[in-house]
């Protein structure tokens, strides 16, 4: 399925996700350049094949020669478009989501996190200064 190629074969991190996902099904994942459908259809599986699932790599100049586009998907084009929309429009809905990074505008998220960190550090500095001042004042008055 092309959706597997798009999702799992375009980076090492995605390949690791695929391996982890299928590990739960006791399956190993093999990324291949192309399927030899004719040969595979008559070839008997070996014991090693039994627990292996093969995913075709997307970037194969001989087969595709271009990146993934919605137009490559005849049946699942609306599904993919909707998923992309849901991903880009995701917003925190629960308190626990506040620290969850979304898919859209990550620069703003990281800027906010950075700003909050600076603010926390500043606040900590102010609090420690106040405490230091109070302690010094108490020591002075003894």
């Amino acid at each position: 399925m092309d959706s597997y190629s798009v999702l799992f074969s375009r980076s090492l991190g995605s390949e690791a996700v695929a391996r982890k996902l299928f590990e739960q099904q006791n399956m190993r994942v093999d990324f291949v350049i192309s399927f030899n459908f004719i040969k595979d259809s008559v070839r008997a599986p070996t014991p090693a094949d039994e627990d292996k699932i093969r995913i075709m790599k997307w970037y194969d100049p001989g087969v595709r020669g271009e990146g993934p586009l919605l137009g490559h998907f005849e049946y699942y084009r609306p599904h993919l478009a909707l998923l992309m929309k849901q991903m880009s429009e995701w917003k925190p809905q629960r308190r626990g989501d506040l620290l969850q990074v979304g898919y859209n505008d990550r620069f703003t998220y990281y800027s906010t996190i950075f700003g909050v960190s600076i603010a926390v550090l500043g606040l900590a500095g102010v609090i420690s200064t106040i405490i230091g001042t109070v302690v010094a004042w108490l020591a002075l008055n003894k």
Binding site: M1, S41, E50, E74
Partner: protein, 373 residues
């Protein structure tokens, strides 16, 4: 000359009798004959055994396979056409499992692949290298487990008479031929298609006149339809049952069954041609939607709130569930290739491979299906 038994116990093959096979295929057969077939199927739950059990007349099985998969000249479902490629595949199996030899030098069975070691397949068995053979197996099991049960579609068949296996298979072939010749520009409700089929064809399995066409279409014909489109379901899920299914506790299903005629069924809202039966979405060929799928990357998805999750339901493929999981269809053979099984039996599996080789393996079958458009 005398041929001794050499201490070999013959397998229990009470069904392997030409007169018996003739009776169940062309009639007349008795209730005892049905029980023999039922017992044989139940005993053949072990897959290599099931591959060797061919109840349907081989000539009709061959014709059925050719009708459903007309392009599959080289790997038809029944091994009557044993080819050099099958021979080569068998050789590869043997070679691959050379190491599976017991300490006493006795060759052991081929673990997961379930083909016995060193045994050449006879030219009359179901082809273990062709997933297409499952349509024949499903047809045989549908006849034995359902059609020949008194509680299945008695409004159509009556209380006593049941059609022979060849009649049911021939009707399935005719249905496939009829559906393949239908104009496919405008999808129609499956109920309408089946009504047309019923009115324009003489069915061998339904002898009597004056049957209720809607009951036949929503029950027996719909069940046949699901088999010819290679989407066999667990036999207790079939629509043609009257009130009970052999071997299972029917009580929990009874309230639903009582009112089922008032509930719209799949025939009333699924269309043909179309992938709804399989759970495929409609084709977006005319849809001009465009865009680059840069963000559809597992690594990127997992860096955010969503996670990828495998599902066995094709209709859930690439959809988001309530738990923020993007579902991906993976052909779990326990569900995607299940056959009509007797109650209590293990779910069906492919003869050779118990797990799919590539994602979507189970639906790749439809590329060669005569109705796979």
């Amino acid at each position: 000359m005398e041929i001794g038994s050499q201490g070999i116990d013959p397998p229990d093959r009470s069904w392997l009798d030409p007169r018996y096979l003739y009776r169940i295929n062309y009639g007349p057969a008795s209730r005892d004959d049905v029980e023999v077939a039922y017992a044989a199927l139940k005993a053949a739950d072990h897959l290599p055994e099931r591959g060797r059990l061919t109840l349907l007349d081989r000539r009709i099985a061959h014709e059925f396979s050719k009708t459903v998969f007309p392009a599959e000249h080289e790997k038809w479902a029944i091994c009557i056409d044993w080819t050099l490629e099958n021979e080569e595949a068998q050789g590869q199996v043997l070679e691959a499992y050379q190491h599976l030899t017991s300490p006493h030098g006795r060759r052991v069975g081929i673990g997961h692949s379930k083909i016995e070691f060193g045994r050449r397949l006879s030219p009359f068995e179901l082809n273990p290298f062709a997933a297409e053979s499952e349509v024949i197996r499903a047809c045989e099991e549908f006849c034995v487990n359902c059609v020949w049960d008194n509680k299945y579609a008695s409004a159509i068949f009556g209380d006593n008479a049941r059609p022979p296996m060849a009649a049911v298979a021939t009707d399935m072939m005719n249905m496939v031929t009829f559906l393949s010749r239908m104009p496919h520009e405008t999808p129609r409700l499956i109920l309408e298609c089946l009504r047309d089929f019923l009115s324009s064809n003489r069915l061998y399995s339904i002898a009597g006149q004056g049957i209720n066409a809607d009951v036949a279409c929503r029950g027996f014909l719909w069940d046949m339809f699901m088999i010819v489109v290679c989407c066999p379901r667990n036999y207790r899920e079939l629509e043609g049952w009257d009130r009970s299914v052999r071997g299972i506790n029917w009580q929990p299903y009874a309230p639903f069954h009582e009112f089922r005629d008032t509930i719209p069924r799949a025939t009333d809202y699924y269309h043909f041609p179309g992938g709804e039966v399989l759970g495929l979405p409609a084709s977006s060929h005319e849809n001009k939607m465009a865009g680059y799928l840069d963000g559809m990357n597992a690594d990127y998805i997992h860096s955010g709130p969503y996670r990828l999750h495998l599902t066995n339901q094709l209709r859930e493929h690439l959809t988001l569930d309530d738990n923020r999981r993007i579902r991906l269809y993976w052909d779990d053979p326990r569900l995607s290739r299940r056959l009509l099984r007797p109650a209590g039996a293990k779910p069906g599996r492919s003869i050779l491979r118990t797990k799919p080789a590539i994602p979507g393996d189970s639906i790749s079958l439809y590329s060669e299906h005569v109705l796979g458009r």
